[in-house]
Symmetry: D2
Subunit: 342 residues, 4 copies
């Protein structure tokens, strides 16, 4: 297959480029950039990609559709919704890493993204939380979930598929490294401000909240608005979502443990670690989401810890997983990553 | 005044030594170490204290009481309870940075510390959460609070002194840098394991939980067991406690804001930052605890963010503050620290 | 005394503000900012300076001279040379932290700074490498050295005051944390680029090279152009200059050791650590420069390791030291800093 | 092929295990550990290797030779020399990542490693600096170079293969992350000591010095003892060797540039970046060594900057490269790593 990668310069685009290069069913990756007017190379975009002569072409939707079998959009929110229109119109297979088609309600999009919503196609897009919503081969447009949403939803799936918990008591205290934000230069990404620090940002205002709620409600109509907090860690990579929920009376740890075991058993890239709580380092460099739990009897509170690599499971790896589902490839094709970390 | 510092080699001892050196009412700091048999120097203990010829003497309680007007114990839990007995017996003024006399119930101590409790003196000791429990001049023994306890209690004080909140819904997600643990060499303090990582440790088992509960119950007899989680940040210094509590119906943000304003107004080293949430960096190098809040109307949840320097407000700075109270010195004597950070 | 601090918003200005606040001979610090049009406060400038109502006034040179006894310029290169003209004209005491008056030759300034040199006053300014050039009380204008220059010159002073070394063989491999650069947002200060990285920058082009050479030539007319390399460390604070020089035949380590001991003995804030090589952490938070040496007989090479806190000894601390010299105060007034680090 | 991996628990063993898992010519990796008495699993060794049931067998040399076609030793110096004896005796193919067979002279080994040298086999071992010493298919025992040696030799190869430089003037200022040292818990690997610090260690005593000199002398009999310094960076991964050498009169930058271009052109995993100096981040996660240069005309000094991932090119990646050479596989088999970093 030939695939188009639109948008190389962001973190997700760079990682996606690397992952697609190791995908045995992809013969050719053609790169496009809506910000360039003439052909450049990968080496021009990335200092470290020395000698990489792969071309980066100016964006041209008809050429993209003519030369490729599928397209990945790694372009920003607000940009993607405009670029993707002809693809949606033609029913061309798209995996979209932006947030533009995740929310079915345009007003909700505008409230949280402070941008105009996509003018069409919202209903056609499928929300691709890949470990749980296996895409049909008829899917043409998949909205790849946000990084925080992926970690949170994976940990909460068992909770919202049972009646053991008080669904109005869910608290998510999530933390991310700096690559979770975009590469833009801001005070909050300056080394001296991030290093040796921890800071809460966008309290109650993070744009991943509505996609989490939308999915939770789909899983359980009694879902109530969760508390969701995001903090910036002094690390480059990784997310931990630490979640709390009240357990109903007469529910014991063994039932909870069985519930998690059962609910997560079929999720291909989720590993339930039981009461061994996972840390961020164990998943960085992989497409895994590791989930562990700790139950506190004294206050009937369950803590769920969920960790991912925000750029792999939280973005580009999940995009490849969705691509595999759309085209009927093995779920882990291109994702058997040697985690060359220590 | 002459003061004894018992235990220099730990983080708290080192910082306390520095703070006492800048205290205008302290003429002499005599250092003792229960692990040395003969006189050494500060320079022998700390590579960076080049040329510092201040003596470190072997521990000898009668000499300590003869030559000093007060004693600071910066010795570990389990050690302090043994060393401090003669001081308690004599009614000699002690500021104890260990956890040995914080809990009034010896069984609780043994359950959480997995060590024998102090054989006597537990009733005589005052728990010195300095911004709230101003010590009387008759106090002879002050148990200086734990670092996590200090950040948590400061943020929760307003909550437990009002009837606006559901006290059975309190969740504390606390994070600390590595100097919060002791200097012992462990897998979990190895650079390669801490760096680029975040990990939850001691879930529901941290030994600061009982002292927090003991104080909360004292503030409000209806206090229920809180959820308390500790995570290790890849930084050397600082604690953030992110706390959540359900707000009762019909309580609005303005009442909550007024409550916090009022409850924290007289706390000399607490700064209420309103809805500007504090970060760790702004208090590192100071004795301040900064507290901010964010209210989420959609789920009636109040988030409280409390930050401290774990070694100053969370240990040695608060010890000096308690010392000031015991001897009637100005509250901020020795604590007007130029925060030489950027 | 009343002193003016011109420029608060940079790293050096912030640290200088803190240091002057603890200087017993300074009753009042009046802050001015050439970028503000109306009076603001310190709290407006720095998020962490909560409740600090100290005023920041618009820049007005006549008012500054009327209301103060001395002025510190913590304004950028290129700006200071313009603002300082009336002060030079009046012979008003100035401590200038910028690079604008360090070089006596205007052409050299323009070659390295790529800006127009100061139109006058270059001859009046004294280069204030405080541990070695003790200022006379008649000095009106002191050019405070650059951070790299301070670490390098302190380590090389003994070398250039002896005939034991081949002066054409000097190599300086210097490394700095991010606060050594200004607060401007650049790719090279983005957390994701600095973290887990080391990079050489401005090879052979750093603007501190000419001031180092100017001082070396003053110390020894046979000085030859040194090799000087700067690398960016993933830390916030501190500089290490690792230096190499060939030792002449028949010179032994004991003579070298004696030379360093003797040459650095009178430098008030320099600590010669012998063959115990200093690390960065031992000086961060202090005004000290620690210098150690290691001699390699197999190739007759002496390694000299010099470390400073770039914002204290390398900027604001040295500025206070120069101020103390100008006004005849004790050398360490305002600089007896408790290094509250571990 | 079936290969034995002896020693999984160290950093190099873990990375090697991951790399061999992605090597298309390796069907089976059998793991052995000389410290275990009974069969365990990879998951038992590494917390993050959740669910990995690959077996770890007790060490048994005859079984290893019977069941495998080659053996990788990722065991410590001093241990390997003992374990490897039967393999050497049998002429069984071994790739040895320890330092035990790198030095041909046993006395030199004992002087630098402070351990007894191998009793036999030193002459049979080939030093596998893979980009330059292509192994013959008759090689049975390859001593994989040290991490510092790899970065240094790659950068110095052109220097020692020309007559443009003063070979007695070579200075190497090398810096490494913490995974360059072993996993042992020491003061110098404690997070609080490494973080926000830089320290020189083992001045003139690093055990990689003799293997560097041995290879340099082989390349050029006029090689003289180099100056070699090692510093510990507050990062987990990566080495930068910054090197300096005096250029002879009448040699210009264009000749030097051509020399480097020519000398490094055939090195399969070396990328010459010209005057664009490489940083550490660009090679982490890859088997590349990037080399850049900067010439300073004012003092006729050439700076060479060489960077590697210490665990891939500096250990396990180079081991795979040597394995590929021994068995005639493509040089980059198993080493076409998607550098999933940003």
């Amino acid at each position: 297959m030939k695939v188009a990668l639109i948008g190389l310069s962001g973190y997700a685009g760079k990682v996606l480029y690397q992952l697609l290069g190791g995908h045995s069913r992809v013969n050719q990756v053609n790169i496009y950039d809506h910000n360039v007017d003439e052909v450049t190379t990968v080496a021009d975009t990335y200092k470290g990609m020395i000698g990489n002569r792969d071309r980066v072409y100016p964006y041209d939707y008809s050429e993209i559709m003519n030369k490729n079998d599928a397209a990945f959009f790694a372009t920003p929110a607000g940009v993607t919704s405009k670029l993707a229109q002809p693809f949606i119109h033609e029913g061309f297979p798209v995996i979209d890493l932006s947030g533009d088609y995740r929310l079915t309600d345009p007003q909700t999009y505008e409230d949280w993204y402070h941008k105009p919503a996509a003018v069409s196609g919202l209903d056609e897009a499928e929300y691709g939380i890949a470990d749980f919503n296996h895409l049909a081969s008829t899917t043409n447009y998949v909205a790849n979930p946000g990084c925080y949403a992926t970690a949170t939803l994976t940990g909460l799936k068992p909770v919202f598929n049972s009646d053991m918990f008080s669904l109005d008591s869910v608290i998510v205290d999530a933390k991310s490294g700096t690559s979770g934000a975009c590469k833009r230069l801001t005070e909050s990404s300056h080394f001296t401000n991030v290093n040796e620090n921890l800071s809460v940002y966008k309290p109650n205002q993070h744009q991943h909240i509505p996609e989490i709620m939308q999915q939770l409600v789909e899983w359980n109509h009694e879902a109530k608005p969760i508390q969701f907090t995001t903090s910036l860690l002094p690390i480059s990579r990784g997310i931990m979502a630490t979640m709390y929920v009240k357990v109903k009376p007469d529910v014991g740890i063994s039932e909870i443990d069985e519930l998690f075991e059962a609910e997560l058993a079929d999720a291909p890239f989720t590993r339930f670690t039981g009461t061994e709580l996972p840390d961020i380092k164990e998943v960085v460099g992989t497409n895994f989401c590791d989930v562990g739990i700790a139950y506190n009897e004294t206050n009937q509170t369950l803590m769920i810890v969920s960790v991912i690599d925000n750029l792999i499971k939280g973005a580009s790896g999940q995009a490849v997983q969705n691509f595999n589902q759309m085209f009927g490839f093995a779920e882990d094709e291109g994702l058997k990553l040697a985690q060359v970390t220590v």
